[in-house]
């Protein structure tokens, strides 16, 4: 009940915006810009002929592959950079230069290296989500409170126990923050990549709807679906905050 109450102002705002949109289209007699109802019927049409699911599936697959690769790469590397000063000094400057380069700027190179298949967007997603995760993991290791490392040193535990029971659990909450950022960026990038290089996915669907006869109802439907899926992905990541190895961080 409380949660419904809390969500009420946000819902009201969205309702007001939709009403304003509807009113504006009605008053301006726009021929191209759709009404909210037009978007609903457009979405229904895509659902019925099944293309919507294909596009969503294609986008999610690409994000899954690119993001998964980035996680496998970033976490060990971040831990290593956090723990070994020399690794940090050597690699961090390079990553700080690569990190601000927009994934969009990589598109020509991605096409040159990987062609216009699925490998290009996977590479772009990898490139865009790997750096925030490396940075967060490294920061996580650097910010482990010294008293815990001292305690581990005092008890004289093996390196394996040190990592398994102290370093990794201490870093996990930061890693999760990095993964949330990484997944968010990945979702932004997949749509952009599909707009330029591909023939499936939600980004492609949006461009295709515009090019094939100004179907702005489908453009807006695509945008809203992208927003909702992005929200769902973030919600799933937030649910991970509740697991045992993360929860301690947020329990106060």
């Amino acid at each position: 009940m409380n949660r419904i109450k809390e969500a009420l102002p946000a819902m009201a705002l969205i309702a007001v915006l939709i009403a304003a949109w509807w009113l504006t289209v009605y008053l301006t007699h726009s021929l191209i810009f759709p009404t909210p109802w037009g978007v609903v019927t457009g979405t229904w049409e895509l659902l019925r002929n099944g293309t919507l699911w294909d596009h969503i599936g294609a986008s999610l697959m690409r994000v899954g592959a690119g993001f998964g690769l980035a996680v496998c790469f970033a976490l060990p590397l971040g831990l290593w950079m956090g723990w070994v000063r020399g690794a940090y000094r050597t690699l961090n400057p390079l990553f700080q230069i690569l990190r601000p380069i927009s994934p969009i700027a990589w598109i020509p190179i991605a096409i040159l290296w990987f062609g216009v298949g699925d490998a290009s967007p996977v590479y772009l997603i990898f490139i865009s989500s790997v750096f925030p995760m490396i940075v967060q993991t490294t920061v996580g290791v650097h910010t482990i409170e010294k008293r815990y490392l001292r305690a581990a040193e005092n008890f004289g535990v093996s390196r394996r126990t040190l990592f398994k029971q102290v370093v990794i659990p201490a870093v996990l909450p930061q890693v999760l923050v990095g993964m949330r950022i990484g997944l968010g960026v990945a979702w932004l990038v997949v749509v952009a990549a599909e707009m330029i290089a591909l023939h499936s996915g939600l980004g492609y669907m949006i461009m295709d709807s515009r090019n094939a006869g100004n179907r702005y109802d489908l453009v807006i439907a695509g945008m809203i679906i992208i927003g909702l899926i992005g929200l769902s992905l973030d919600t799933i990541m937030r649910l991970l905050e509740g697991i045992r190895w993360i929860r301690w961080r947020y329990a106060h």
């Binding site: 040193e153 008890f155 004289g156 535990v157 659990p169 929860r247 961080r249």
Partner: protein, 268 residues
Amino acid sequence: MRTKIEIQGLKKSFASDKGPLTVVDDVSFTVGDGEFVAVVGPSGCGKSTLMNMMAGFIQPDSGKVLIDGVARSKPDSRGILISQQGSVFPWLTVRENLMFGLNGHVGDNRRAAEGIPRSANGATRDNRMAIADHYAQIVGLKGFEESFPHELSGGMLKRTELARALAVKPEILYMDEPFSALDALMSLRMRNELLRILAQERHTTLLITHDVEEAIHLADRIVVLSPRPTRIQAVFDVPLVHPRKVSSPAAQELRVTILRELGVEREA
């Protein structure tokens, strides 16, 4: 009494903006085996630095720390440090915290000492768990073995920390203002608990405190340090039998004497 800890001419200075700052200046004393020594001194006098050198976390500029006559320069599980902020791992349960120090060779040493065979892995894990639960019970945490630190009160956290230290059977307990973050009542209760536990399992104990009453309550001997750069200013024996009453005339007299050493002439 056999000598357990002997420190000889410890000196330490740190670099500061105004050049080297001498914190500990030529401190020597000995602690007997099983003795409880409290170190009191004005705040910022270098008590913690002294303790950290004794426990091996900081290297002295000169001087030596001998334990059982052997120089020791690195921390190990024969001497466990309990600090004011505490270091109970928030991501492990109470039981896992208590089992932490029993991993690896420490646990092996203990098992060897107690004649427990180094059998299959599963058995040793059960064994470690039994040791952990035993010490949880000793410090009064029975029933909280599965709890996470964030579910515990400040006093229970201290108990966890103490039990984790005791579980590895350290020869020396280094306690750096262990109870000063607790409220007065809880601090008093923890002192009584500590005395009760030490009566069961005797450890050589070194306590750093700014609370003279706490020192009189707990220690066999009290070392009073001077302001920085710290030196030993005076040493007092505490000839009172346990259980002690801090309000007794003898204890109060000692308290006034020590406070005078610390430069506090009269207490309101």
